[in-house]
Symmetry: C2
Subunit: 457 residues, 2 copies
């Protein structure tokens, strides 16, 4: 069998020269159809993604198939994201879709109920991964690694009530970038924010903003406002809802459901409605109540340094210090952040898409230590890009613009105007494949169609 | 914020010209380290993939992480496979990791017990997908598609007793290519075999052979040998084990466990020990017993046509008609095939790797119809590449050759010989990132190391 590639002795060079741009038709018979007809044939072959049909034949709740058209869009998005991760020196990593159930316990706080467990069919108890961060920390600890900059693109699963209109699914793809190891303070954190900016800019999603806060500032605020320590994480979860529900409703949840004293809630309210830039950080340094907390001062000091680096990176104007940003996950220990789009990129006449945050992350210095028998810690900071939401936006943008998506890369059709020449066609096709050219076999009736159009023209 | 890409007004052109091949060091301070030292620093950073450490901290049985080194190898393999699928005009498709449990029932015969079920946490009953073929058929039926050429690369899960030494895992990646729809007989089947040949050749896995048979020939053989129809699939499963266990053991299983009459088993034995090329197909046409079966004659007729096309494609010498090839899955209806490597590509002094089949597939004309309320059929044929086994071979080959694997694509290090210049470094790095250049920040102690070596040299 001849080797693949362009090593064939025959005169493919001339043909290859013509193949820089697809698609064309190569005719084994006497009639040479015009390439526009071949184009028309191709377009008619791109079947539209039809609506899902009946009640039994479906994908599980909160999941979906990706049609060839959607795959093209998804791959374009992932390419931009992964290129950025690689530009920042990250290595690839992959972990299994499921973990031992015990690996995931006590990592996600109130959200743990959303984990998909596998049925006990004998052997180990397993759960589908809930994010890519905990498997990364498990990998670091398991392999006794002290340092790593890695990216991971993969699916995760959460049993959330799916609001598909908002781009929320039970199965969704995450693109994670994390830096583990001891580095100069806040430099990896600043790099994570820089990466988010590069990706959101590269994807041309319109203007965006990254809210930044620090868990230590939150904890210091809770402590100095009079929240009992046992309620820190529960109150944190309530605060985290401030981007979805009003302060009034959050306050009600904290007081009525979580038993916080009303005056404590009001003190918190004064803080969590603040947001600004470096000047707000400096203002908080002067806040007499917050200054009583050593933790809060540490957090504020780090944020100040962070803003210095963000200025050097040229992205300080994209970052907002926001005392209401909490992030739901239990494992964060320092700076946390969340990127939101400021406006939907859809045209003015369309309903603006509500997509929530499109990227988020933070510092989790304790997670690797939770997997280490001796508790040895490895400081980590990372980010996660929410691809499904970005996908909804890009897909809608393409639909609005009427942009045609090619789902195949075919360069050549081999066809004959009669039913004959099958042997010649197959031989020719095999030679083109062996030469690395993208070829599709055309069926008789399509060939007849080309011929008919040629006769009409 | 400046746009990404190479649009910056500054004089990057000269720098870019030097960056065609990584890695180099760009110095913000006065000393310009020699690039060989930067290379040495890079190499020392590639931590080896250490052995897994203890009994609790592990991945689930039969699963594994892919380290950065392994990811590089895996991506190279997948690139070759996907390029071939695209060359043959396939579109991409993705489906959820799990399906409604009922979608998977009655599709896999004796192997159904290996399906991973999800725990019933309220709502739908779900199972992890067992292959990519059944989800593809479900997708075709659900979207009422009559024709599609698609590829799908994704993980599947089977609760097999893992023999990891042989490259068998409970979580593994499949690369599937399928052609659905009405086409001229045996042309899509021949294309599938061509694709397997192109991929195995492209991956340079050494010599290989593709065994081919037809379910109708098997069924005709069973009928004319006297196997009761109710035992066809069970006997099929026994025959399928002939590549792993001897004829004697298969015969024992059929007679003692599956209740077949010994003389019937012996009649089957005469056939399943036959293999050859087109001449064997023609010989079987003359076989007085087999000729009594209309089904077998249909299968033989199709195989004859298939061999004609395989000759035109230049791959007939890679194909062997093998009457023992059965394939375990229930859904096959016509031609079936399985590719095996004829020799391990490892050097002579190494133990040859036993990897079993590396690709397989066949025709399944009834599967889409099983999902259609009116039973409308869509004929399909496809193939699946077993990436894990190929991965074991390529990984061992690279280990043996001592080939170094780069896990990052860094083009530039920015470092200073003193602790100063942090601000200058960060500004320079951000500009390089914005210009699309792959840059890594280096820490002080590494810079000191470079300086030390420079002073020594």
């Amino acid at each position: 069998m001849p080797p693949l590639g362009l090593r064939r002795g025959r005169a493919w060079a001339a043909l290859l020269g013509q193949l820089l741009r697809p698609p064309r038709a190569v005719c084994a018979g006497p009639v040479r159809p015009h390439s526009q007809f071949a184009e028309a044939v191709l377009t008619s072959q791109l079947k539209p993604y039809q609506e899902k049909s009946n009640f039994i034949l479906k994908t599980p709740k909160g999941t979906r198939d990706f049609s060839p058209q959607q795959m093209v869009v998804r791959e374009k998005i992932l390419d931009i994201i992964v290129s950025c991760f690689k530009r920042h020196g990250a290595k690839g990593l992959d972990t299994p879709a499921f973990e031992l159930k015990e690996m995931l316990t006590e990592k996600y706080g109130e959200d743990s109920g959303l984990i998909y467990d596998l049925k006990d069919q004998g052997g180990e108890l397993l759960s589908l991964r809930y994010d890519l961060t905990v498997p990364f920390a498990r990998y670091m600890a398991m392999n006794k690694l002290k340092k790593m900059k890695r990216y991971h693109v993969g699916k995760v699963w959460r049993r959330e009530s799916p609001t598909i209109a908002q781009g929320r699914y039970r199965e969704f793809c995450q693109c994670d970038f994390d830096i583990a190891g001891d580095f100069d303070p806040m430099i990896p954190d600043a790099e994570c924010l820089k990466i988010i900016c590069e990706i959101l800019t590269g994807l041309q999603l319109g203007d965006f903003l990254i809210k930044v806060n620090d868990r230590r500032i939150l904890d210091g605020m809770f402590a100095t406002c009079g929240v009992p320590e046992s309620k820190f994480r529960a109150i944190c979860s309530s605060i985290d809802k401030l981007d979805k529900i009003s302060w009034k409703d959050v306050r009600h949840e904290m007081v009525a459901e979580k038993g916080l004293a009303p005056e404590v809630a009001d003190r918190i309210g004064d803080y969590v409605q603040c947001h600004g830039g470096l000047s707000l950080v400096e203002q908080m340094f002067q806040d007499p109540r917050l200054c009583q907390s050593k933790q809060a001062l540490e957090g504020l000091g780090d944020l100040k340094l962070l803003f210095e680096y963000l200025t050097l990176f040229g992205i300080a104007e994209k970052i907002r210090f926001d005392l209401s940003l909490a992030r739901g996950l239990d494992y964060y220990t320092g700076v946390v952040y969340e990127a939101v789009l400021l406006q939907a990129p859809a045209p003015a006449e369309e309903e603006p898409l509500s997509v929530g945050s499109v990227a988020a992350g933070g510092r989790y210095d304790g997670l690797v230590g939770m997997f280490n028998p001796k508790g040895h810690k490895v400081p980590c900071v990372g980010l996660s890009i929410g691809v499904e939401r970005i996908f909804s936006i890009v897909e809608q943008r393409m639909k609005t613009s009427g942009e045609k998506i090619r789902t195949t890369e075919t360069q050549v059709f081999v066809a004959t105007p009669q039913k004959n020449f099958l042997q010649e066609r197959l031989k020719l096709i095999a030679e083109l494949w062996d030469a690395g050219i993208k070829v599709a076999i055309k069926r008789e009736h399509i060939v007849a169609e080309i011929q008919k159009r040629l006769l009409q023209s």
